[in-house]
């Protein structure tokens, strides 16, 4: 593997999560000589995620492969603090629960199959910008390697260090991080084996609690933001919550996972000369759901394609790479910003207000687009208008 570091590259992608593997896939496919660098010794591990992924076949040609698909999801059940259940089916609520360890490797292999070179256990410890390229300093097994690339794609996830090294403001505020903890358990009794469950209220301040059926197991976890207690404390309390009475009697954990979801909205600037930032590092993640895989893959596909075009044109300046920012913003900026506004309001809701909102909603819904859901609820319960009047 060391000989990989003796070469120069058109593109070096840092981080082999979905965003990085997809970026490198499209860069390679568009003719760029591409190196994907992963700091861990294993791509896909440790998992920091609840593992729900929408269908990616039509848009990205990533067909649901039995090696990583663990369960098919038809929708979600939202549970208000007062116990009211709202069932949402169809559209974007459909998808899969995947095994991220296998899924992430699958995407890396898919990228390798179109020519991407991959270095694992290789940690980027510095970037040097010289003229029209970057020297990427890589620590591999304790030795430093200086590898040149015309373009760096920072896909280093919540850690957000690579873009920050390049002078882009990538680091997050503590209030922008949803702090998550999760047990994967077996012998869980599901409400419905193909429906995700979401719980809201004081059991998980400013976040939500989830139960995602994953075939033989379920991911049971929650996320909180800047709370008195830690995510793990709320999670252990939830497992004893009367809401789940009888459902976990024989349940035992087979894995513990934790992580931070950067749900504060996209960072201001995702490109500079010779650099682009994608995925969690760029804040390309739903501020409401904390789901980021779809956005990472969508934005990563744009970044990789633009990188390939930049190499063909011989222009790696910010002026050219801004095409990436323009394209991903055209697609997602408005949605992410809208979600962010609604999230900020919903975060302040007391249990009583959450109940009122839930009571104003139909029991069965066919979409999960927040602005139209709120609009319908406000029509039914005009007392809710005061919270959302600036948005509707």
């Amino acid at each position: 593997m060391i000989k990989l570091f003796n070469e120069e590259y058109d593109v070096i992608v840092v981080g082999a999560g979905p965003g990085g593997s997809i970026s490198s896939y499209y860069a390679s496919k568009n003719g760029a000589k591409t190196l994907l660098v992963e700091k861990s010794q294993e791509i896909g591990a440790p998992v920091r995620c609840a593992e729900a992924v929408p269908d990616l076949s039509e848009e990205f040609g990533i067909n649901p492969h039995p090696s990583y698909i663990r369960n098919k999801i038809e929708g979600g059940i939202l549970v208000a603090p007062n116990g009211k259940k709202i069932t949402v089916k169809g559209g974007k609520t459909q998808g899969y629960i995947v095994d991220r360890k296998v899924f992430d490797k699958y995407l890396a292999i898919r990228s390798a199959n179109v020519g991407t070179k991959i270095a694992v256990k290789s940690r980027v410890v510095g970037l040097e910008h010289d003229g029209n390229k970057y020297t990427v300093i890589i620590n591999h097994l304790g030795n430093l390697y200086y590898v040149k690339a015309k373009i760096v794609i920072a896909a280093d996830g919540v850690e957000s260090s690579i873009g920050e090294m390049a002078g882009l403001k990538c680091k997050k505020k503590p209030t922008e991080i949803c702090s998550c903890a999760e047990y994967e358990m077996t012998n869980v009794k599901y409400l419905d084996k193909n429906m995700m469950e979401f719980y809201f209220g004081d059991i998980c301040p400013k976040g939500y609690t989830w139960i995602f059926p994953k075939g033989d197991t379920a991911n049971i976890g929650l996320g909180i933001i800047d709370s008195k207690k830690k995510a793990i404390d709320y999670l252990n309390e939830f497992l004893e919550n009367p809401l789940l009475e009888g459902r976990l009697d024989n349940a035992v954990p087979v894995e513990f996972k934790c992580g931070g979801a950067p749900v504060g909205g996209p960072i201001k600037k995702t490109v500079g000369d010779n650099i682009m930032v994608v995925g969690d590092a760029a804040g390309q993640i739903s501020p409401i759901s904390g789901g980021g895989i779809y956005f990472s893959i969508s934005c990563g596909s744009i970044a990789g394609t633009v990188a390939g075009e930049a190499i063909k044109q011989g222009d790696y300046s910010e002026d050219f790479l801004i095409n990436y920012e323009k394209q991903w913003k055209d697609k997602w900026y408005k949605l992410l910003k809208t979600e962010l506004k609604y999230k900020k309001i919903l975060q302040q809701f007391s249990e009583k207000e959450l109940n009122a909102l839930a009571d104003a909603m139909d029991d069965n819904l066919e979409e999960l687009e927040v602005s139209s859901l709120v609009y319908k609820a406000v029509k039914k319960a005009p007392s809710l208008l005061r919270y959302f009047k600036d948005l509707l």
Binding site: K39, E159, I177
Partner: protein, 54 residues
């Protein structure tokens, strides 16, 4: 800032809020650089497991 490795889940959330490059996650170990840390406690707030302490 210090880390209790018995509690740490090596998720990297703390790294994401450190503006001073004072924390690094190397495989499953958190490394804190005292010379860079200003004890701003951002990392402490986001840790899901209460693994960080002053």
């Amino acid at each position: 800032m210090n880390v209790n490795i018995e509690k740490c889940g090596y998720c990297g959330a703390c790294v994401g809020v450190c503006n001073y490059f004072a924390i690094e996650l190397i495989e499953n170990k958190i490394k804190i650089y005292d010379d860079k840390c200003i004890n701003c406690k951002s990392c402490l707030i986001v840790c899901p497991l209460n693994a960080l302490y002053l």
